[in-house]
Symmetry: C2
Subunit: 113 residues, 2 copies
């Protein structure tokens, strides 16, 4: 049982809201599955994302403890992002959604927001 009053903010609800932000899942999954990457490489992995949004999402994920940011103060600078242990556990939990998602996807009707 999910112990959560829908009218109130609960951790699961908030977490879902966070993950639901634009480009958040693609970033999360890229870091989880394809491993750490520097800013530019990550931008190339996530086709279509703008610098602005990538920066913003990464900052948010970092603030929430899902992403590590490692900065080499060289010239030019090198900044590497990677998944934290917390993010790995999160992604493992998301696997539980896979079965339902697959079955749903087999016969869903498009148009989703």
């Amino acid at each position: 049982m999910i112990r959560c009053n829908p009218q109130l903010e609960c951790p699961t609800n908030l977490l879902l809201a966070l993950l639901s932000g634009p480009w958040t899942m693609p970033i999360v999954w890229s870091l989880f599955e394809e491993g750490p990457a520097r800013f530019g490489a990550l931008k190339r992995r996530i086709t279509g994302i703008s610098s602005r949004l990538l920066t913003e999402r990464l900052r948010m994920l970092e603030a929430q403890g899902f992403v590590d940011r490692h900065e080499e103060k060289t010239i030019p600078p090198q900044v590497t992002y990677s998944a934290t242990e917390r993010l790995r556990r999160l992604c493992q939990a998301l696997e539980a959604l896979g079965a339902v998602a697959d079955e749903w996807h087999a016969n869903y009707l498009l148009q989703h927001t």
Copy 2:
């Protein structure tokens, strides 16, 4: 392992996108935890939602097979919404997120989108 190229659309990603729509989770959880309800009652449960959005979200969830719509063609009309088996399985899968969400929530820093 989540077998999903972040650059491509995969079922889990799409499902998350769907759930991420405004008011979607509150509606889903209300139907799952508090049971079936008629339109007006549901609107009262989900504090702050507008008729327009509630209708739209319910229509979408119905189209995707997560919600059942039962209409009594009386006067005045009575329409009852309830969770489908698929939605129940979805919510059970979401429970796996609970542990991570709780731990995260214990020390997250606000500001999420």
